[in-house]
Amino acid sequence: MTDALYQEYILDLYRHPRNKTMLKNFDFTRHEKNPLCSDEIDVFIKLDKAEKITELGWTGEGCAISTAATSLLTDYLKNKSKADISKLSTEKMLKILGLPKITPARIGCATLGLKAINNAIK
C-alpha cells in the first residue's frame, strides 16, 4: 500500500535532497523558521544581469515534507526570473510538491522554503 503523503519520491527527496548547498556567491539570502516545529532554513539566490535565477541553494534541517518541497521548488525556479518568484502561491507550491490535499498542519512545512525565498528577494 502506498502512503498518500509519504510517497516514494517524497521519501527519496528527504533522503537525497536537491540543491542543499550553501552558495558562496549570492545576491539574496534569508533565514526562515517554522515556529510550529522549529525547523530552520537558509536560502541563497544568485541572479544574472537580466535578473534570471542562475543558482539556488539552501541549508537547514527539516521534515520530509519541507525537505521535499524545498528541493522541488529550487529545481523549479532555476532559470526562472526574479519576478516569477513573487507569482508563486501556496496552491502552486503544493502542485509543485504534488500534494495538493495536504492537511493544514503541514502547509507550513510545505511552504517554508517558498516563504524564505519570497522574503529573500523582498
Binding site: 509519504y6 521519501l11 533522503r15 516545529c37 525547523d39 520530509a64 515534507i65 525537505t67 512545512c109
Partner: protein, 412 residues
C-alpha cells in the same frame, strides 16, 4: 490504584473513544467535576466577587475564596499567600518585572539549562534593562540531570534563583529544595522561585518543604481550566518585597486623583475582576487530584513510565533519564523522573513522527516544547514527546509503540 475506569471522568474520551492522549505535558484533559464547577458558577451564581452585597455575589465571593483555600491546602501554604493569575507564564513575568528593578550590573541570577521559555525570556528582557548577569546550572549530558558541580555558579552576588521543579522536555526532576538551601547559604538575601507548572499534577508540592520564596503553576496542566494559574509567595515576600505589577480596581485601598495606596495581600496583586470561574474550576481540579491521592498518581505514572521506557528504549533514542536500576532508586514514594518522554528516531524528523502516530489516534507533541535553547544545547533540531496523565493506560503506550514501528517502516 488507578484503573482505566478513570477515563470515565473525562468527557473527551467519550467524544474520542480511541484517543491515545499522550500530550498531558502540554495540557491535561478536563474532568467532568471541573466543568461542572465552572458551569455552576455561570448558571447559578454568576456575579462579581468582593463587590456586591446581594446573595449571589456573596456566594461567588465565598466560592472564590474557598478556591484560594483549596489551592493553599494543595501547596501547603496560607490562603493569603495564593495569588490567582492567568498561569505560570504570567507569574514568572510578574516576578521578573517586580523583582528585577532591585538588581544591578553587579548582580547575577541563576537558572538551569532546562528552563521553559517562560522562565528564561522574561529574565533576558529584564537583564537588558538592569544589567544583571544570567547564569546557568549545567546539565549532565549523559544522565540528563543537573550537574551538582555547577551549583557553584551561585555566589554571594546571586539575587535570584529561579528553576523548574521538573523538565517539560527531559522529565528530569530537580533537587529543588537542596538548591534553594544552598542558595540561601551562599546568598542570604536571594529570592528563590520554583516553576512548578510541569510538576503540579505529577508530584507532591509542599512550599514549606521546598522553602521557596515564590512558586508558580498553571491550571491547565493539572486538569484545571485554561487561563488560570497560581503565584505563591511567602507572606513576608508579598508584604515587604514584591511590588504590585498590575494596577486597577480591587488591588487598591484608597485612591485620589493624585495617588493610591494598596490593598492587603493577596488582593494587592489581583487587579481587576479575577478569572472567577477558572479559579473555582482549578480548585475542583486540585480536589480531584487530592481525592485520587498524589501518591497514587505518582505510583500510577511511574508504572506507566517504566513500561513506556522499557518498550521504547529498543526503538528510539530517549532524550532524558532512563529508568534507574533498583539500587539507584530513591526512598519509598519518590521517583527520579516524570512521565514525560522525549525521543528521536534517526532518519525521521519529529514532525513526520507526529503526523504518522496521529493516524493511529496517538497525540504527541513535536518540536522544541518551548525549550529551544535546551534542544540546541543538546544538538537536537527537535524531539517528539509523549507524556502521561492519570488517564493514561498501558494500551495508550502500546498504541504509541506500534505507531512508532509504522514510522520506522516508512522511514527505515
Amino acid at each position: 490504584m488507578i484503573t482505566k475506569k478513570i477515563k470515565q471522568h473525562f468527557p473527551i474520551f467519550r467524544a474520542h473513544p480511541n484517543l491515545a492522549y499522550l500530550d498531558s505535558a502540554a495540557t491535561t484533559q478536563t474532568p467532568q467535576v471541573v466543568i461542572d464547577a465552572m458551569n455552576d458558577y455561570y448558571a447559578k451564581y454568576r456575579s462579581n466577587v468582593h463587590r456586591g452585597l446581594y446573595d449571589i455575589s456573596i456566594t461567588a465571593t465565598e466560592k472564590y475564596e474557598a478556591a484560594r483555600k483549596q489551592m493553599a491546602k494543595f501547596l501547603n501554604s496560607a490562603p493569603e499567600e495564593i495569588i490567582f493569575n492567568s498561569g505560570a507564564t504570567f507569574g514568572l513575568n510578574a516576578l521578573a518585572r517586580s523583582l528585577s528593578p532591585r538588581l544591578s550590573h553587579r548582580d547575577n541570577i541563576v537558572l538551569t539549562r532546562m528552563e521553559h521559555h517562560a522562565n528564561l525570556v522574561p529574565w533576558q528582557e529584564m537583564s537588558k534593562h538592569y544589567g544583571f548577569e544570567i547564569r546557568f546550572i549545567e546539565l549532565d549530558p549523559t544522565s540528563y540531570q543537573l550537574e551538582p558541580n555547577s551549583y557553584n555558579v551561585i555566589d554571594e552576588n546571586t539575587k535570584i534563583v529561579s528553576l523548574t521543579q521538573a523538565s517539560n522536555v527531559l522529565g528530569a526532576i530537580n533537587p529543588v529544595a537542596e538548591i534553594i538551601k544552598l542558595a540561601k547559604q551562599k546568598s542570604p538575601k536571594v529570592y528563590t522561585i520554583v516553576d512548578a507548572a510541569q510538576a503540579a499534577a505529577h508530584l507532591p508540592i509542599d512550599v514549606k518543604k521546598l522553602d521557596c520564596d515564590f512558586l508558580v503553576l498553571s491550571g491547565h496542566k493539572m486538569y484545571g481550566p485554561t487561563g488560570i494559574g497560581v503565584l505563591y509567595g511567602k507572606k513576608i515576600m508579598l508584604e515587604e518585597h514584591l511590588e504590585p505589577f498590575m494596577f486597577g480596581g480591587e488591588m487598591v485601598s484608597d485612591v485620589t486623583y493624585e495617588r493610591a495606596t494598596w490593598n492587603e495581600v493577596p488582593y494587592k496583586f489581583e487587579a481587576g475582576t479575577p478569572p472567577i470561574a477558572e479559579a473555582i474550576g482549578l480548585s475542583a481540579a486540585a480536589e480531584f487530584i487530592t481525592k485520587i491521592g498524589m501518591n497514587t498518581i505518582v505510583a500510577h505514572e511511574k508504572r506507566l513510565t517504566d513500561y513506556a521506557l522499557e518498550k521504547l528504549t529498543p526503538l528510539v533514542n530517549i532524550i532524558g533519564p532512563s529508568t534507574p536500576s533498583p539500587s539507584q532508586r530513591r526512598g519509598r514514594g519518590e521517583v527520579s523522573r516524570l512521565g514525560v518522554i522525549s525521543f528521536t528516531i534517526p532518519g525521521a524528523h519529529p514532525h513526520d513522527i507526529g503526523e504518522i502516530v496521529n493516524r493511529a489516534g496517538v497525540c504527541v507533541r513535536v518540536g522544541h516544547h518551548c525549550a529551544m535553547p535546551l534542544h540546541k544545547h543538546l544538538g537536537l533540531v527537535g524531539t517528539a514527546r509523549a507524556s502521561a496523565g492519570v488517564y493514561t493506560t498501558k494500551k495508550d503506550i502500546d498504541k504509541l509503540v506500534s505507531a512508532i514501528k509504522e514510522v520506522k517502516k516508512i522511514f527505515g
